[in-house]
Symmetry: C2
Subunit: 390 residues, 2 copies
């Protein structure tokens, strides 16, 4: 096990009707003026936004609003938000939505007190040393941004999709999580979220760090629960218990609970970011295409942990040939993704002829000559993996 | 799943040599004058206390000291600490030790700013509304107090062993966890710690709350890891990886990570507290006696979750008769405890003829007419369980 710091000071308020507590929580966490950040129509149509406004007013707080955040959020909305937030003098950014909304709020939170271009943080040209407070009302369990200190933004002009990790500054001060708010998510979006949270665990689970038994077992336990609960939600989208388990799983998958003390991988996420940046697909769907290919590659090159996952989570029978076990794991993973209605190839993703040379070039331009840690992938390797996903 | 709040704002700094960071962490968390709380000789003999003093001095902090905290810590040391802390004007209590030391520090932290008797908090006569900051350098993985907002103190005059839960005020601001500090723990003390952390998970796992799959799987995963790592430590007490896994497991077993959204039980802990209050035995050893008896009782009355534990953690073969499965679980749990060198009966604990009527009377005087939630136990039930432990 490697040395680590685990510091997750977010207050998670979980359950039915918890959005009514938002105003009181904002006051408790020191807000005086709030900027609500939200996306498209569902938070408006469902009445959630009105309920949030009401609870802020009841708590005596004033607020301004930034709507219209899109999936795969871009820099333009961040600049707009930084300007608005400075003019309005807000001191807490309240994200009402999923990962795109939360990540935009985090980018604004880091950008407001910074004199330079917020994009500096995403390309490693500057470090976050202070930020406004961020809080969350979660509507989509997927990105885990409600518990993490991470944010992913795409720069439109260059199609660079980059992530920033600043856990000391960008973890939400509180996150309100009401599973009922997820009842109306379309099945495909639920499936994309399930895939995203599973891969957040994979990125930590696929490690060469030894002596991480507690971490391994927690990863496997949460994955096992996700498989079961995803099936139940597929059967009945309004199953409170199943929705609740998925919502909490999405948080623990990414706040660091799973994977302490491990060197993490992240090759799959980086490879997918190029796909969604270039083709505008849903991140979770892109992952469902990239990850089985990545795993197939690993079955030959470094099958150990894939075989272990297969045995402990997917019920692959134990055998001497680890490569066979690993391929069994890939097969069962694909089967599960298909059951969820996810694509498992570029073709099924609607990208008949991906420009693989361009994907590889941009990947290594953005993320360096070697990508990932479980196996450090060269451009030749990542090209092979993209081809395995055709 | 029940509604819940999960708020664990402790900064965990984990790994080799991390005690060198104590001074810097204390400054970061706003300390100006520290009171070090410690127990007997091992923190002195090992040089740990000297290293902690040095790092505080290097960080420019002044400090005073309260030593001599005993296992099953009592109110006398708390009163002494409250007086010293007030005279010295310390604003951060740094516990260097295990659960007894940390719990004493927490009691002092709550007591210093309170005008009445600190014991009021433990008997429900007053609520904690403020407290000094507590921080930890952990030397014994067992109680989980390094991550929890709980403390257990015994009032000597009445032999009342009572717990206080005040997570908003008594969670440590930081906990430094170096597994190397646990190399020299005697095998019996390591075993008692392993038992204590396992039972912290059991208290959450044995619930009637439905739809807690993520929680169940995390509990089972951490328990599975503990069994493996305890075995490794038994084989080689200086196995860093095994010590590290046990140390982290002890934290997650009790900070709330396992068991969110569940109604918890706590009958076993309450029943054990009477045993250690009356006979002065180690808490972990007392649990190893009480819990198999509690579980045997449950095999007849409410076997479902015991059977599930047996199957998923102890490898009990699945069969139609849940009671048989549950008894299989008890048998394997006892086998494990015996392997670890723990007693599994009053006789093996060295209490040949426990005064069961007195234990039952004090238990229900202190904890109410019904104890626990998995099955709400009457005095007749708890008497039967104590008898099963003879």
């Amino acid at each position: 096990m490697e040395n680590f710091v685990f510091y997750s000071p977010t207050e998670f308020v979980f359950g039915r009707d918890t959005e009514r507590q938002v105003g009181a929580l904002a006051v408790k966490h020191g807000a005086s003026r709030v900027m609500i950040v939200y996306g498209g129509g569902s938070a408006v149509r469902s009445g959630l936004l009105d309920r949030v406004r009401l609870t802020l007013r009841e708590a005596g707080l004033t607020f301004c609003e930034l709507g219209g955040v899109q999936p795969n959020p871009t820099d333009a909305k961040v600049y707009e938000g930084i300007g608005l937030c400075r003019r309005e003098g807000a001191d807490l950014l309240l994200a009402v939505g999923g990962g795109s909304v939360i990540d935009t709020a985090k980018a604004i939170a880091a950008g407001v007190p910074y004199e330079g271009d917020f994009w500096d943080f995403y390309i490693g040209r500057a470090q976050v040393t202070r930020a406004l407070k961020v809080a969350v009302v979660l509507t989509i369990p997927a990105a885990g941004s409600e518990g993490s200190g991470n944010t992913v933004i795409t720069k439109s002009a260059t199609l660079q999709k980059m992530s920033l990790r600043a856990p000391m500054y960008l973890r939400p001060v509180f996150s309100v999580m009401n599973p009922e708010l997820t009842y109306t998510l379309p099945a495909f979006q639920t499936a994309c979220g399930v895939c995203d949270m599973m891969i957040h665990i994979f990125e930590r689970y696929f490690t060469n760090t030894t002596d991480v038994e507690v971490s391994d077992r927690m990863c496997e336990g949460v994955l096992t629960a996700i498989l079961k609960e995803a099936y139940r939600v597929r059967q009945n989208p309004q199953d409170y218990g199943a929705r609740a388990n998925l919502m909490w799983a999405g948080m623990v998958a990414h706040n660091g609970t799973c994977g302490v003390g491990c060197e993490e991988d992240w090759a799959s996420h980086f490879m997918e970011h190029e796909v969604s940046a270039l083709y505008g697909v849903a991140h979770g769907a892109g992952l469902a295409v990239v990850v089985p290919a990545w795993m197939t590659f690993m079955a030959e090159r470094h099958p150990e942990k894939v075989a272990q996952l297969g045995e402990r989570v997917f019920g692959v029978p134990v055998q001497d040939d680890l490569q066979e076990m690993a391929l069994g794991c890939v097969s069962r993973l694909k089967h599960f993704f298909r059951y969820m209605g996810l694509p498992v190839s570029f073709k099924e993703l609607g990208v008949e002829s991906p420009d693989i040379p361009l994907l590889v070039r941009k990947l290594h331009e953005n993320k360096g000559p070697l990508v990932g840690n479980y196996v450090r992938l060269t451009p030749k390797d990542t090209e092979e993996i993209y081809r395995l996903a055709l």
